[in-house]
Amino acid sequence: MTDRLRNLPTMKVHPQTELTLIYAGKRLKGLASDTIATALYANGVRIFSRSLKYHRPRGLYSLDGECSNCLMDVDGIPNVRAETSLLQDNMKVEPQNVVGTPERDFMSFIDKLDRFLPAGFYYHYFHRPYRLWPFFQNRLRKAAGLGRLKPSFRMKGIFDEIYPRAEVCVIGAGPAGMQAALAAATQGLRVILLEARPWPGGFFDYRSTNDVSDIPLHQRARQLADKIEENRNIRFFPGTFMTGFYSNNLITAFQVGKETDYFDERYMEIRVESVIVATGCMERPAIFDHNDRPGIMQVACAHRLARTYGLLPGKRAIFSIGDDLGLEAAMDLFDLGLPILCVADTRSDGQAPGLVEGLEERGIPFMRGWTVSTAHGSRTLKKVTLCTLDGLENRDFKCDLLVASAGLTPSAGPLFLAQARMSYDRFTGFFLPDEMPQKVHAAGRLLGLQDPLSIEASGRLAGLSAAADCGALVKVLIKEARELLEQLPGPVRGSKFIQAPGSGRKRFVCFDEDVTVKNIYQACDLGFDHVELVKRFSTAGLGPGQGGIPGHNLPLIVAQYRRYDGDSSDPILPTTIRPPLVPAYLATYAGKSRNHPKRTPLHETMKKTPGAVFRRTGSWQRVRYFTHDFQCREEIETVRNHVGMIDVSTLGKFRVFGPDALHALQRVYVGDMSKVKEGKVKYSAMCNEDGCLMDDGVVVKTGENDYYLTSSTNRADSTAEWIRYHTRYEVWNFSLVNLTDAFGAINLAGSRSRELLQTLTDEDLSNNTFPYAGYKEFRIGGDIPVRAMRLGFLGELSYELHIPASYTRTIWDMLLEEGRPFHIQPFGLEAQNVLRLEKGHVIIGQESEIRNTLHDLGLGFLWNREKSLYKTVGAPALHFTERQNGRMKLVGFRMEDPRRPPKDGSIIVDTRIRGHVCTARYSFTLGQSIGLAHVHSDLADIGTRLEILEDDMGSKRLYAEVVPTPFYDPDGKRLKI
């Protein structure tokens, strides 16, 4: 590991805390607070990856993850941004898109073939003849892409999500952002402050220049950061990347957790009144021949490597820059011990005088109006050629580091996403907002300000303006802040320099996609001469850097090529920016896995019952089997011969009451609900406006204008919504209460259920006083109130008991205890499924789909056609479809081979598909295999032979015959005993 600089006040790494990383099989040392990229750089790694198309060597270029150069495979996760990911102990890091090693890549010969790979080459070469395209497509797909994901890969880690609320959100915790946050927070507003780097400070953080009060800027950043920390109204989120900006000022972002955090990453959705964008600037890449060689990096990258990470970026450096920050960095790095051969500045004038003097004092040659034109060196940088802007004079320098930048460009992504109207400003050379959306403000460097005081003042003004959006009375303060800002230096003239003279073939506009200036020209020549078209055809800016590198240069080059000179009134147009601004893991968007099924009041009891196998059904966790015999023979036979019970607490339960309660029921149920009599249950169904079955259940009348109804399990959550929706235009006076969770329910079924239930109550339960389809309220087990219904879903004498949820376990235990002499046994969903199948009863969603009308399912008899006055939901469709031909019908069938039921979902065929099996089982009760199926109406007649095709059956078939339902006890005698 190279020695780090010592005793720098700006250092963020901790020399005392060494961490290990394993890079390409070798153990290397890094320091705490290193990023993966800086740790590798400290260990002498210069080539980080190979490029997408040409397999050119690529190295550290920015430090903010704006290109794919430093995408690496970390602990099996591909495409990790090594520049912004903090190093953790024992990380396993592998270079990507490398065939061989980063230093010797066997695919690098492609670099020489670039003449044959113009923009959109795959459209040119591989579509003639077109039948060969699939072959080439396959090859291209294999060659394309960066990281590789193993099929066995599973994302590890904790991914959380939060939805914080505040009045003001500030994006970027540089000097402007911190001032803005403080100004708003001082007005008593809650402020959320987001910062992508692990610490606040922005571009003050690594600068040692003094501000006007003679303290270094990094110390000023510390002062502001301390104030932020002390202010209880500010929530500061470091390591947080903003991804989106949506209407109603909704900001999305994700935060990368530190080792001390409970999460690895968390998704954030922040809703605020007012937003301040203070994201500052990044650098506009310098474009010249071989501008992507490892050893070439941006100004802030070199500066931060030294100041923040204590790493001198090279041994012999050349600077080719276009703004004052470049001059300042050169001086500072020189003072830290970096030998600098010369500094070339594209500007012929306009430099701050102090900086030019500073270079002179240090004896660094300063070349105005010069720039770099070519980088040399086959793998890493060995030599550069500098030239004058007219290209007439050249000079070569041997060096291993080129610090290059064409100027600054604002990180205006958030403003674009906020739909601010942006246009090219000829003075600053920036895309600046002409008009800001309501309650969105911009501050700091992205407005073209460079003076530290102006930046802070603009932050304060933005913070106060945001406070005003939230109703704070700050008119006077805003006026003062504006006046102060107006007295300070305004925006600085920016460098308009676009690219070095010459026309080499290897000038890269986009590193991610290996797009050169040549490719841009080719696209323009082919007629794709609008910047949006160039972007798509050449793919510049479509890579993982999300346009960070080409974002600003692409519009300039296109405009230049179209001969729009700097004074032309033709606009220079930006490309569209879309979320996410920064690539994010899908795992982060997916967030936590929320598997929280609902539990019935009997859940704990069920868990203790031997053999209970739970399954997730809808939102519930329910018992499917009580044995490991998945045919449930014992459970079924217990119900048929003795008595069994099942937990049916998941049924939806509702009370509808009030003077117009009956109207509401008439509206949603297809039956005539005025026929519901006290002490009786009425079975009915609800349809949608297509006449298709939505729900079935029973209704009982518990008093004057007072009804109790059940819905199927899946509809429990939506029945209240449904009834209210279909009565929304009426001024009916009724109330609806969802009692689903207030009541537990047990279905006690079997010929001996009356005897058993009678042992728990003095109420007369004889068939005369409590007949089939009866309803009764009484007390059992001492004093527990119960609502009992005699229903026939399973084809036996049975009582559905609705019990206050807190008593349900007590009753279950009592029934189990008292039922011993009757051979009672609990049964699960599978047994219930077979029992009701034997009765031919429909389970919605199993024997019905959303396209099956009541008639298709043979339930048309439930519909009362005489109540059009009530505008019953679905009634017109039931009229229209009553005699419609060619519909699918639900039929019962019996297998010719009694031991062989087909699998659920098998298809029914003749020469084509004619239907499908809904449910089929072997019935122990009947000694036959039976089932229910949907078939075309011409196959629905009794006696029709059905051909059934299961998966992987080949030419074999199973055969069945359509028979009438119910299969078991067709006259329903057993229900009525």
Binding site: R724, S868, F880
Partner: protein, 85 residues
């Protein structure tokens, strides 16, 4: 979800709490004399307006009421303070 909706009972809340109930088209036609075409049009056809429309929302994670708001479908923003039309 960036949409916010003003519930007449609970006030302005996050769009996640609501369920969409379709555009406002008035109550269902009477059954007498109803043709297939009229019914099909009522059940399946939508205006799909580009602009401000009145529409139904259900406060599922709140008070459980149905109500209408006006929303600009071009900006996906609720238009507040307009008279009920």
């Amino acid at each position: 979800m960036s949409l916010t909706i003003s519930c007449p009972i609970c006030g302005k809340r996050d769009g996640y709490e609501f369920r969409f109930g379709g555009e406002e088209r008035g109550p269902r036609p009477d059954e007498e004399g109803l043709t297939h075409e009229q019914w099909c049009s009522y059940v399946h056809m939508r205006i799909n307006k580009a602009g401000i429309q009145r529409e139904w929302w259900y406060h599922q994670e709140g008070c459980g009421s149905w109500f209408t708001i006006e929303r600009d479908t071009l900006t996906n923003l609720e238009v507040e303070g307009r008279e009920e039309t």
